[in-house]
Amino acid sequence: MSRILNKPVDVAVIGGGPGGIGAAIRAKEDGAKNVVLLERSEELGGMLPQCIHNGFGLHYFKEELSGPAYIHNLLKKMERTGVDVMTHTMAVNLDGTRITALTENSVVDIDAKSVILAMGCRERARGAVRIPGHRPAGVYTAGTAQRLINVEGYLPGRRVVIVGSGDIGMIMARRLTLEGAEVLCLVELLPFIGGLIRNEVQCLRDFNIPVFTSHVVTNVIGKDRVEKIIIAEVDKQRQLIPGSEKEYDADTLLLSVGLIPENELSLLTGVELNPLTGGPFVDDLWQTNVPGLFAGGNVVHVHDLADYVTESSEMAAANAVKFISGSLRTDRKLTVKAGKNIRYVVPNTIISDQPISFYMRVSWPLENATVRIGNIFEKKYTFVRPSEQIRIDIPANKLKEVSDEIVVSCDGEEAIAR
């Protein structure tokens, strides 16, 4: 193994998904001389090559695209920009803006003037949701099953129970059904379906797949392979309701139980994480607390749309280039706080006087809701749901009068349980 010391670059981007590719292109476009894009797997694209369903790109490319098509279009955009792409390269250490990475046959030290974190997120697995029972084969995260079916060409099971009614769980229910498996049911802990209504209609109802809200898996039975899955209903205090058990002869259990921003690398250099998002605290320039270290996309907070992942990472890159040239202006410091019915809001501080996009999620669904950004801006929504991220763009002049703190809150009427 050879050690190549000190590869100096202007901007290094860690992670080659829809965020990282966008960031690398933007850094080049904005005048960074050397831009390196590090990707640990064999190809660029992150999760999107396995997301063969539609719904990507409407915002960014003004066209409805599949995941692979979205990446195809981004890669076309990157052609001839001169971004130095390093696949099979895994960043293993971060010290400020100095990266140590492993390639297939060497160790590289990359001395960057600025680094953009674009590592995305990963799935929560069985251990994170404490599902009781045996430990047989046949328990997969939804994303693993998606890769097996859509990229590698294997059907992971024939009779499937899915935990979690988020979009990934519902999309996998349709995919498995179309590929000839039988999806016995979806099980959702919360009293409402987690994903988009469009997916509830087109992935579940279209194929008569039942979904049980306020239900949990209480047992996984099977010696070598999953043989039975037992589910049961829970009450409002999430206590099991005796006698509500249902038993399924399933050979497969899919887990679609949430995503966590992937920040082990960030922690190595003292990036402060927001416990509510699992991602770094960032300011409105997508800067972390470590100077020169920017972050965009799902490494900051889990987005609904790949389009916004690309967009926020581009913003991070634009500001990283300004940071290098010393033209990053920081005029003030405002703290942004999540108030009533707001689970989290990004960014956490405002230091510039540029226009700002606030991203947030509500804690609980409401009807006829109003989201307020302090007392300077409000927007009305017929519905707000935890599963649907809210984005509010504020023009620069609106925030001029605010001095030190701004609270984002959401009021409305209790949504009728569906």
Partner: protein, 125 residues
């Protein structure tokens, strides 16, 4: 006279009205109710008379790239919902050879719908 009642969740706006559609024994629409706006009526009619969906799936590909045995594809436009599974069966036997370019036609006029199945990625090797 027997009638059938169907509930259609409208996808035209975030309200997601649960529109009630009554059909007679000849599958003709008798009434549409519980939609908050005219778009809900049009949508519910379409969903009852001829619901359509874009199909996204994969076909097998022979290439020098052993890590990509599959090519992602989609129907260029929506096809009737009722034939999605038939279309899957049709596509199960399709094997294409590389190189395939983005938006290349993989199957022309699938199941007589007039809709082509196209590649949504390119595999050039």
């Amino acid at each position: 006279m027997s009638s059938i009642s169907k509930e259609i969740i409208c996808l035209q706006c975030p309200f997601a009205c649960r529109v009630k559609v009554e059909l007679d024994e000849y599958n003709q629409i008798v009434s549409i109710a519980d939609n908050k706006c005219p778009r809900g009526k049009t949508y519910a009619e379409q969903e009852v008379v001829n619901p359509v969906r874009v199909l996204t799936t994969t076909v097998r590909i022979e290439s020098n790239d052993s890590e990509h045995p599959l090519l992602p594809v989609q129907t260029r436009d929506a096809i009737p919902k009722g034939i999605l599974k038939d279309a899957m069966k049709e596509l199960a036997d399709v094997v294409v050879k590389s190189p395939v370019k983005y938006k290349d036609i993989i199957v022309q006029d699938i199941l007589g719908t007039g809709v082509d199945v196209i590649a949504t990625f390119e595999i050039l090797e």
